[in-house]
Symmetry: D2
């Protein structure tokens, strides 16, 4: 793998790295703690949250951390994030505050070199990770014609730990529930990244849905092409793009239930020559590759440890 | 309602109508029996199936029926369907054998007049019903630009009563599973009907998915427009098309779990002016409006009884 | 059936009966409204709730009702219930306030004659209905030795419409969750009724569990016997007890998923001669026979209309 | 921990141990392979199954293995198991063939010393593991009065990978399904072990149920006592029994969904002094502590490596 050959900080191999987790009582926060418990180099040294049993939230308590993970509700990271940067900390924010025109966008498969030298990384949204990785090869090759049509499906943990009437089990059991049909929070970062890849604005439609499940996420993309592409060329395009990526799996029928606990994004693409369209499926675990796992992947890169450290679990299936 | 004012056969008001159900042991077949048990005019007089406890399958045993429902596996209706027609029976086939370039396509919201005089009706597929009703107003108005992009999600009863490895609970629990990405059986009838409405070929992409649920179905459509349309005009277009339809509900966030047992198709459409796209959601119960309920709706029309007879149940929710 | 031969109020056949539903926005309340929509004699004339879109809660607004259903949170029925009685109303309370040593206990299979002449009926709890009907034949025959051991499993609607951390989907998805292991609210009414049947105190253990489903409930009973009983005698005992009951089904493997929307309680009992124990399963829909359906059954009896009126729906299955 | 201080084979620390997995295509077999992929000392060296992509089943191909796991359908292990023993292999059988009056019963919490010197271990059934561990402290203390009343609930993976009508998703979705009410396969081993602990025959009733989930299992026990016991004494009894056990967790509300992928058995017990009964809940992951994880725990003990090796994963939750 390209990045595996890069020199790493020798000192980094010798001492344990201390991580701070802010928002440790939420689903993403506790997933960070769970993954760090099996990490060979990094440990959860400071756990902050508003709940009982945790330290109070604040920059002072995080002073000795090699990296700080912010796992706060969307919109609540900005002040603490900026204060931590001023104090010289390295920060990965799992919220949406810094993703658009903000910090380094922490999708390693697209921005590994930038993450390596970044002190402040905005961890992508869960839907955005799947959507961008799913469509990136087509966008980068200049093949996309008009808006990308995205359909998202996610388990309820994507909506966080706070119960609400909209996510109450009897409301969503036994079916599937659309929401935020024309204005989901992740649309901005999806368009930002696809536009960067394509070299011009790349609008998208995105219709998210709640599944009657806990974790797991699938994004389906219908992508019209500017020129014909057959299945062999399509396979080559994706294989070339992702051959060296440790966390991208290509082929088969991506199904998020097979990725529980894994940091993989599982992608496949089908050329529908009859309609001049490519159909893409991209699955992941929204709490791992869509949140805590990807945050640790980013921290691994930032701190010069093996990118896959702590992230080698297979999906727990069935 | 237009059709409510039509004269009905006076004699039809006086005697019970006998229905034959062929394939009564399958999910669609037993749903026909369940609905007919509450039908004010029609009763399940003959139940045929290959399983024990039913009469053997054959045209002779159906001789006295006013209408015969064929609820056989796809591809197995042809011979019996044609024999029944030769013997003078009125038939509704729930399979796919006669849907494309075959019998009268039994989507009453599009073909009510043809169904009224038909002796042989092909009941639409479950996905097709939602997809066509969802996009019909746009197609009929000549607004669709290029292929329609359809994303389907269905409970496992859509795959029938026979267990298989692909639908085994541990394979699909806790996630969502794509299948038949580029070539689902219902694509032909969807394109046939949208093409008829538009007046020219109307190709579509259609990616179906299995939900970890039993019944219920949702189709999401991303439809690019040939010209801009704002939300008010879009609402008017759908409202005008469906105002008098007893089984189409417009508005809100369509969710199939609210329609269990109901014959409704629940639709909403959003104008995404930023991308020149309309986003549509269409939900239904795949065993009712997607199969047995619509078959009885067709039979009601064919036999001159009230179209909604036996089909007034609200969705069982939560 | 014994009760089917009783004279009914002739006038009752001629005019529609007006029902008031207090708490119409909760799950039990909206289920009352749903069932009443298909009732041949009774209609939901007044809907009161704290939510928008309903009339405010109060006895004045219910003055013209033939019967009032109270579907309020547990503990909130007492004042209104007593005021309604003073004003001369007939009331069915779906809460727990009046079940123990209070109003007529509205389990028609045990207290039909008392319900017929009652003006105030306490509708049994959902678990209690299944537990009592499941064990009643054994208790009444004096066969129970020591405490009855009950294990309950219920969908989340049993916990009501208000979301909570304990019932949040990610907390209970993919498993089963015990709660209130030694002190569930329904234990009092279960012991009251089994004790009345047995003629002496009949203690019980009862461990309830939350299923990762929406509606449906199963109670399993392990009942030690004072004397041996073989399967044939056991079958006879239950058959004799329930032969004429329109809403009790005996035999097979009771499964609540087959009873959705039905007012049936489905029971079977197995003689385990090796251990001197009878094992009982009793399934029902917690919102129908366990709440709204049984309340309407009680009201039907109180108002002299056919006991099964409005309650003939089969379970919606699969 | 008692066993952690025992001497281990020094050579064992130096070379990787080769495991053979027979039946590697089934759910238990693939779980063995998944866990072994993260095992620090043992690797899946030979994979045999009847399916394509695996070596054919037979003793010859397993000659070089340090341990062989038999993960075959119940009743199919006997011949191969005995042949392997004759050839000098060490074997852990995950089936039921050798559990009753057969090989060493591989429940390490009860029989660790015997497992350490055994060449042939019968891995306990999933329900049996939870039932026995849940009731063992009471049985061993001679406190159990009469039969133990057990209620089991399990996800569908417990029924294996082969689809069937009884486990078809639409049959079990949205509810809970009893089966084998009076004669489940695991009853024999439960009674054998509880009887050994109690010193006299200890009959049990056991009613198993299928949950609409994939993995996870809960056993509830209602245990009448020969003498009163208060909560403090009960807590002491369990704490003393399990304090040093790495895979038993005591306290709280055991819920199997929190143990996915974990080798823990989570137990709690409540004294119901009113009825002279103890109520016990015991949860586990049926594929891990109920099958593959416990098999590896046994192999670790047999081969003299750290008992917890490869088995340190926390439950994946939510």
């Amino acid at each position: 793998m390209q990045y595996a050959n890069l020199p790493t900080d020798p000192a980094a191999d010798e001492r344990p790295l201390a991580a701070g987790v802010v928002g440790a009582s939420g689903y993403a926060g506790q997933e960070l703690v769970r993954i760090l418990a099996g990490h060979p180099r990094m440990r959860a040294a400071v756990l902050q949250a508003r709940s009982d049993g945790f330290e109070p939230i604040g920059a002072e308590g995080l002073a000795g951390c090699d990296v700080v993970f912010l796992a706060l509700p969307h919109g609540e990271s900005r002040a603490l994030g900026e204060e931590l940067l001023e104090r010289g900390a390295q920060v990965v924010d799992l919220g949406s505050d810094f993703r658009v025109d903000g910090w380094t966008y922490g999708l390693p498969e697209l921005h590994r070199d930038a993450v390596r030298v970044a002190r402040a990384v905005a961890n992508p949204g869960c839907y955005a990770t799947a959507a961008i990785l799913g469509v990136a090869p087509l966008a980068a090759a200049g093949l996309v014609d008009g808006p990308v049509h995205l359909d998202g499906k996610s388990g309820v943990t994507g909506a966080g730990r706070t119960p609400s009437e909209k996510t109450h089990l009897p409301e969503i059991h036994g079916g599937i529930t659309p929401y935020a049909v024309t204005g989901h929070r992740h649309l901005g970062e999806i368009e930002q990244e696809l536009g960067r890849l394509a070299g011009s604005a790349r609008p998208a439609t995105f219709v998210p849905h709640l599944l009657p499940t806990s974790r797991g996420l699938l994004v389906t993309a219908h992508v019209r092409l500017v020129q014909p592409l057959d299945q062999a060329d399509l396979d080559d395009l994706y294989a070339a793009r992702y051959a060296d990526e440790p966390f991208v799996r290509f082929g088969g029928l991506p199904a998020p239930q097979r990725l529980a606990g894994s940091n993989a994004c599982w992608i496949n693409a089908w050329a529908d020559e009859r309609t001049g369209t490519v159909l893409v499926e991209a699955a992941l675990d929204n709490l791992v590759k869509g949140a805590a796992g990807q945050a640790i992947q980013n921290a691994n890169i930032m701190l010069g440890v093996e990118e896959t450290a702590g992230l080698t679990a297979q999906g727990l299936w069935p």
